[in-house]
C-alpha cells in the first residue's frame, strides 16, 4: 500500500463552526455563509503541512484532521 499524502478532512457532525481552521489557514480553508469550513480537495502541499497541523490541533472540538485514507 502506497502511503498517500495527508489531506484535510472534517467531521461535519462534530464541527461547530468555530472557524479557527480558516483563521489558521487563510485562503486555504474558507467558511461558508453559516461559518462552516470548506476544505480544499487533494493532498496538503508540503509548504502548508505545518500550518495544517496547527489548525488540526487548534480545532476546539477536534473535528478537523489530517487524513490519509
Amino acid at each position: 500500500m502506497a502511503v498517500t499524502a495527508p489531506h484535510l478532512a472534517v467531521d461535519p457532525i462534530a464541527c461547530q463552526a468555530h472557524g479557527l481552521c480558516a483563521e489558521l489557514l487563510p485562503g486555504v480553508v474558507t467558511l461558508d455563509e453559516w461559518g462552516y469550513p470548506i476544505l480544499p480537495a487533494g493532498p496538503v502541499p508540503p509548504a502548508l503541512r505545518a500550518a495544517a497541523r496547527r489548525a488540526v490541533n487548534a480545532c476546539p472540538v477536534l473535528a478537523l484532521r489530517l487524513a490519509t485514507d
Partner: protein, 417 residues
Amino acid sequence: MTCAEPLNDTGRLLSGAAPGLAAHRARYGPAPVLGGPGELVALVTAAGLRGRGGSGFPTARKIAAVAAASRRPVVVVNACESEPASAKDATLLRHAPRLVLDGALVAARALGADTVVLCVHRGTPLVGWLRAEVAARTGDGVAWQVAEVPRRYVASEASALTRFLTTGEARPAAKPPRPERRGVRRRPTLVDNAETLAHLALIARYGPGWYRSVGTAGDPGTTLVTVGGAVARPGVYEIALGTPVGAVLARAGGPTAELSATLVGGYAGTWVTDPGTPLTHDPAGRYGATVGAGVLVALPAAACGIAETARILGYLADESAGQCGPCAFGLPAVADDLARLAAGRPDPDLHDRLVRRVGVIAGRGACAHPTGAVRLAGSVRHAFAADVRAHLSGRPCRPHPPVLPLPAPHERDRTWQ
C-alpha cells in the same frame, strides 16, 4: 446453476411471486450455500451487481470490506423505503419476500454472519407478516430479527441504521469508520437494500452470466422502478438497466398530459427533460441523471417544476438530522430561495445566491442527504430554464395541485429513537 424454467428477462423479481414457502422452495430450491466470503465476492464481482438503495455502489466492494474485518459480521436488510415516491421495496416484499430473505441468507452464510436484521419503517403493514415469516424460518443457521425504524428520510441511511440498531438513535454517523468496518454493536455490518439482496439470491442460483444477459456492461441486470405522476398506469415495474426514461414511461401506459420533465432517481435525484436518457446508476445525459432509488415522476407541463422542487426541498430540509451545519442551515436556505423564486418574488441576488448555495453544500454532510437535496435543487436550472427566467422577472407560477407525493403528517415520525 441450471434453471428448468428460465425467468423472464425483465420479470426476474416480480415474476418470482410464490404463494408460500413451499411453493417458493419448489420453484427455486433451497437458498444456495457458497463456499465462503471469497466465493461470494467473486460471484458478485462477476455479476457486477450494484446497490439498489440509491447510490449504485458496487455490492462486491461492500461485501469485501465486511469480509476483510476480523469480527463476526451482521447482515442488515434495508427495506425502509424512505423515498416518498417509491413503492418498489414494499412491492418486492409483497410479491417475492423469500427472494429477499434468501439473498440475505446467502450473504450471511458466506460471510459467517450469525444475525440478519430486517429493517422496515415503523408501522409498515408488512411488519406482522415479516415477523411470522422469519419466525417460521428455523434451521437457517442465523438469527432473524425484524427492526422498526423511525419513518424519517435519513433514518434508513446505512450508518443511521447501524447506529439505530446499536444505540437506538437513527441519525447518520460520521465516517470513517464505515458500517462495513464497524456497524451494529461495533461489528462489521453489511447493509444492503432489499432489492439488492433479492438480485443476489438469483445470482447465486442462476449465475453471473445469466444476470448480465440484460442491462448494460457497467450496470447489468434489471431493476425495480416506481413510476408516478402524469402516466396512465402508475406503479412498480421491472426494467432492464439502461432502458431510456421515455420507454419506462411508455411501460406505465405513457403520459396522460404534455410533460415538462420527469423526476428521476427520487428526491435526491434529477429533473430530466430528454426521454432518451438511459436509466443506470452511472450519471447519464447532460446533467448526470442516475436511476437512483428507481423513482420516476412524470411532471405535466401545467405544473410548475420550481414550485414542486421548492416544496420537496422544504420537506428535505425538515428531514435533516440537524447534525451537520451545511445541511441544517443550507437546506432551509435553499428551500427558501426556491420558494421565493416559485412565488415570483425574487430579490436581485437570488439567482446567484441559489447557484452559490447549491454549489457549496454538496459533499459536506456526514451522509449524502444534503448532496442529494442540492442535486435536485440544482437540476431545476437546466430542466426549467424558461420558468426560472420567468420567475426571476417576477412572474409567479401557475397554481396546480401538487404532483410529487409527500408523506402525510401522521405518516412521519418526529423522533429519532
